[in-house]
């Protein structure tokens, strides 16, 4: 995450998955380096949300590049940016959700390379992680995932009746055309 291809690049959210409280499809974000004169040490999150309440979560927040090893991805399908997430070709959305979960499963490993920060949501902090993948889609387009961790579920416990667990999750997107 310390190369510069993803800096100052506009990303469009294509699917907000379980993170509807943080952003909507077609919201955009830019990760802006803190300096243009040297190697940046952190990045401002410039999220352009349609919903002002969601904008408030991202205002003046930042992430740091941390970790060492980039997570692996292997997207077999390309996302069709002309269609909303629920009108993708059969299997595509499920494929992306599977890849999102794969990335998410590595995110707790401290060695995994990522952009990490925290944002205020309601009355608590959420841990935010960005993963940027260059040319990850078969059509050569880049891909980004945004992971949010509201709380740590106990290992092995996946109680879907607990709404707090359902609020964790990952959204994803790619650059505009």
């Amino acid at each position: 995450m310390n190369s510069n291809w993803w800096w100052n690049k506009q990303w469009v959210i294509r699917d907000n998955g379980p993170l509807a409280r943080l952003f909507d499809p077609d919201d955009t974000l830019v990760l802006e380096p803190n300096t243009a004169d040297d190697i940046p040490l952190f990045f401002w999150i410039r999220f352009d949300n349609k919903d002002p309440k969601k904008s408030a979560c991202w205002k003046d927040r930042y992430v740091y590049a941390v970790g060492v090893t980039p997570p692996a991805t292997s997207l077999v399908y390309s996302w069709d940016d002309t269609k909303p997430c629920d009108q993708q070709a059969p299997g595509v959305r499920e494929h992306y959700n599977g890849m999102v979960n794969r990335v998410r499963s590595t995110a707790e490993n401290p060695f995994t390379a990522r952009l990490e920060g925290h944002i205020p949501v309601d009355s608590h902090w959420e841990i935010i992680r960005f993963f940027c993948f260059q040319g990850a889609q078969p059509n050569g387009r880049d891909w980004i995932t945004v992971d949010a961790l509201q709380k740590n579920p106990a290992p092995g416990v996946h109680d879907i009746s607990n709404p707090k667990l359902l609020e964790d999750g990952t959204g994803h997107g790619d650059p505009p055309h």
């Binding site: 803190n34 040490l41 952190f42 930042y62 740091y64 941390v66 970790g67 060492v68 401290p110 060695f111 990490e116 925290h118 205020p120 309601d122 009355s123 608590h124 902090w125 959420e126 841990i127 961790l149 509201q150 709380k151 740590n152 707090k164």
Partner: protein, 161 residues
């Protein structure tokens, strides 16, 4: 903050203003991920009753080390309540200054988080070499627990045994 200085150093909590997170006498040791070059992260080894600290990762972030000026040395043979009032106040002022700067992304620190109950506390570790007049090192642990309830935030501090 990615110099070898904070690494493999056992730190003892000498004063505690973060109930539920740290107790006086707890120890933290920061293990670097590598001894070949600057570490990218530190893993915490903890002794005490708040075992959620164990294995948490802290990353060196920021640019500018915060400035502190301690005028008194902490007497490690006395409890926090038995310190001279001026000494404890001096350390509290330094801690408060760090708490104020902990949300500035430019400020150099070790940053991580720990799960507490059903949410996260954002933790900044500040380590200062020979910061006390007697030459002892000093460290402060800052917590941002909740956005809307600042009484739950705070700073603990300590020094090596």
């Amino acid at each position: 903050m990615n110099s070898p200085f904070p690494a493999n150093h056992s730190w003892i909590i000498r004063d505690n203003t973060i109930p539920g997170l740290l107790d006086i006498g707890d120890t933290l040791t920061l293990s670097p991920n590598t001894v070949l070059g600057p570490p990218q992260l530190f893993l915490v080894q903890y002794t005490g009753q708040h075992t959620f600290w164990n294995g948490t990762a802290f990353y060196p972030v920021g640019i500018t080390p915060p400035a502190i000026a301690l005028h008194y040395s902490w007497d490690d043979s006395l409890s926090a309540q038995q310190q001279p009032a001026a000494a404890r106040a001096d350390f509290n002022v330094a801690s408060a200054g760090l708490h104020n700067s902990a949300m500035n992304p430019q400020v150099a620190r070790l940053l991580g988080y720990v799960p507490v109950d059903d949410h996260f506390a954002i933790i900044s570790l500040f380590c200062f070499q020979a910061a006390q007049p007697n030459g002892n090192d000093w460290f402060a642990i800052d917590s941002r627990w909740s956005v809307v309830a600042p009484r739950q935030d705070g700073t603990a501090h300590g020094d090596p045994p």
